[in-house]
């Protein structure tokens, strides 16, 4: 297990290093997130609906769309020069390969969220204050869950012709349960309720994470093994 984890970190490190040097997909995902925030502001009647009523929904719609865009790159980068075949030939257990891709994806999506969150606070005039620890926990738990599913799916869709379109079609239904709970958690947090009130929601997110990460580890070999 220790070896698998170390190998996973090596693979994740490779992906993160590549991304930090090229910066193209990280930046485009962040710009995309900012644009989604911007567009949603104009999807309301400013005299009738106050921003705070919309804020939790806006935040999670942005997170969902930006995450899909960010996750698309995990396996598309391996397509060039058949790099993925090289990875598969390396003496790396499939689980370590999955975890490596998972960690890298998690870091990307969290980075995009880290850029989007301050913009969200700015555009929608949300006073985070006491809500911040709870909100960060929600972001982390929700993201950990749907990235687990998204990593498996992005390894599959890369074999299809319309990978960029296929990923959201497959993934969005899987994002809905964590999103529902994330919104359920965010609403009381923004209303200044104490953290203890949102614990059931966080627990649900954690259960989703454990179930789908386990399932992904079990099923990933069936995706990559010829």
């Amino acid at each position: 297990m220790g070896r698998a984890l170390r190998l996973a970190l090596v693979i994740a490190g490779k992906d993160i290093r590549m991304e930090l040097r090229a910066r193209t997909s990280l930046l485009s995902a962040a710009v995309f997130a900012a644009l989604v925030l911007l567009v949603q502001n104009f999807a309301r009647d400013p005299t009738a609906v106050s921003t705070i009523d919309l804020a939790p929904g806006v935040l999670w719609v942005t997170v969902a769309f930006a995450a899909v865009v960010a996750m698309n790159r995990a396996f598309t980068v391996e397509r060039e020069n058949a790099a993925f075949d090289g990875l598969l030939l390396a003496p790396v257990p499939r689980e370590a390969l999955y975890l490596g891709k998972y960690f890298a994806n998690l870091v990307f999506v969290l980075l995009v969220e880290a850029i989007a969150l301050p913009l969200f606070v700015l555009f929608f005039n949300v006073g985070l204050g006491h809500a911040l620890p709870g909100l960060l926990a929600t972001l982390l738990l929700a993201t950990a869950g749907f990235v687990a599913v998204g990593t498996v799916f992005s390894a599959m869709v890369v074999k299809t012709r319309f990978a960029e379109l296929m990923l959201p079609v497959l993934l969005l239904p899987f994002m809905v349960p964590p999103l529902i709970f994330a919104v359920k958690t965010t609403v009381p947090l923004f209303a200044g309720r104490p953290l203890s009130e949102v614990l059931p929601g966080l627990r649900f997110l954690a259960i989703y994470d454990v179930v789908f990460l386990t399932l992904a580890l079990l099923l990933f070999p069936a995706v990559v093994d010829e």
Binding site: M166, V169, L170, P173, V176, K184, V211, F212, L219
Partner: protein
Amino acid sequence: MTVDGAPASAVIRRGLVLSVLGLVGIGAVMALAILGTPTEARQGLAQKIFYVHVPTAVVALWIAVPATGIASMLYLWLHDPRLDRFAAASAEVSTVFCLVVLTTGPIWAKPIWGTWWTWDGRLTLTLFLFFLLLGYHTLRASLRDPVERGRFSAVISIMGVVLVPFIHLSVYLWRGLHPQPIIMKPSAPSLPPEMLRTLLVGFAVFTIFYVGLVTLRYGIQLAQDLREAADAA
């Protein structure tokens, strides 16, 4: 259900016979519902759709979708192409049945609930299932290699089956303490015997129709696979 190695045309013929039998049966259920079953006192004629809606929903959610999931799990284990063919056929029929449920539901709901659509738990779950099935077909259609297609479809189908309880739980909790819509659907045990009879005939007929369509679809896929194998050879 079907014997592999039997010529595809025999399977197709069997599927056709069963499907036609199912269709005739559906006609009979409709006639029975309108002519031979008393009209429900409060809902009037709108309640007649119940004899199509409920059997389709039950066959889709309790037979077709679980059968797809089980076949997918077995496929990952046994790698038998028959299982993949069956899973795909069953998923296709599930999609059609879900669409029937999602169409007949609002037609009934408009006069009875006063709205075409409501985000009621069961309704939302069926809608999600429908989208999961659409995703499944989209993925299948975009993959050429049959072995890869089989494995990927099995993976997504298993993940979809695991997702269903999460969707169920989250859409129920999402509504929070809001009251559920007043469901005036008579529940099965309290049905008068004539209504129960029509409903049970409906279950039988729609199950036959499901088996017929799946057999038919399986046979067509088998013919395609045999043709491709012959072309490749």
